[in-house]
């Protein structure tokens, strides 16, 4: 597989990912985009704020891409996360994979986002009109 594209950026461009995953051997390209939802438990979200331990986050993302390319026959992988303040509907994460057939790219794409959410040191603060909460910090 070619080197995965691993990035942490201020602003996510969702239009570039098809080109990045395109490959003459790939009949299937699966992309997951995570975006800011307007409501969390029926409470209106004003904005989200992401921060990261960048050096470690990039390292974990590299490891996740490496694990995916061992599990499945993939031609390309993209893992890109945004940091900073994000508004409702803004994209915050894009992960994707391309492969000869669709089974592999679907399964790999799901693995990429699940692993990212579990392991990559990125923290999300939800800003409501009356308070702010670090997501998942408390049981």
């Amino acid at each position: 597989m070619e080197e995965p594209i691993i990035e942490i950026v201020a602003n996510l461009d969702t239009s570039q990912v098809f080109g990045e995953l395109s490959h003459p051997g790939s009949g299937g390209i699966c992309v997951f985009t995570g975006a800011v939802r307007e409501f969390t438990n029926k409470q209106q979200v004003v904005s989200l704020e992401f921060e990261t331990y960048e050096k470690m986050a990039l390292g974990e993302m590299q490891k996740i891409a490496g694990e995916a390319s061992k599990k499945w026959e993939l031609n390309r992988i993209v893992i890109r996360h945004a940091v900073g303040v994000k508004q409702v509907q803004d994209p915050v994460v894009v992960v994707g994979a391309s492969s000869a057939h669709r089974d592999a790219c679907f399964e790999a794409c799901r693995f990429l986002i699940d692993a990212l959410k579990k392991r990559v040191p990125i923290w999300k603060k939800e800003h409501f009109s009356d308070r702010s909460v670090w997501v998942s910090a408390h049981p």
Binding site: G34, F50, E51, T52, Y53, K55, M56, A57, G59, H81, V92, V93, I113, L116, K117, K118, R119, V120, P121, I122, W123, K124, K125, W134, V135, S136, A137, H138, P139
Partner: protein, 80 residues
């Protein structure tokens, strides 16, 4: 030995980093660091989980801390 603080850990301690020398005794392992952190800042007890990274890798409790290590407190992650 600098300890980087992120997310809610930064809010609990009130800074983006601290020095291991600030504890009575410098912690020698990840487990000891976690213990000292919870003693100094009891709010850490309330978190869903608490991890430590040494040189930007997740580190088990048994890992020993060496001079020059870059240490980070990793509260529950919530990317994506």
């Amino acid at each position: 030995m600098e300890i980087l603080l992120f997310g809610i850990a930064k809010d609990i301690v009130g800074r983006t980093s601290m020095d291991a020398m600030e504890f009575n005794q410098r912690p020698t392992s990840v487990a000891e660091l976690k213990d000292k952190l919870r003693q100094a800042f009891p709010e850490f007890e309330n978190l869903t989980s608490l991890a430590v990274a040494v040189n930007s890798e997740y580190a088990e409790d048994s890992i020993l801390l060496k001079k020059g290590d870059e240490i980070a407190i990793i509260p529950p992650v919530s990317g994506g």
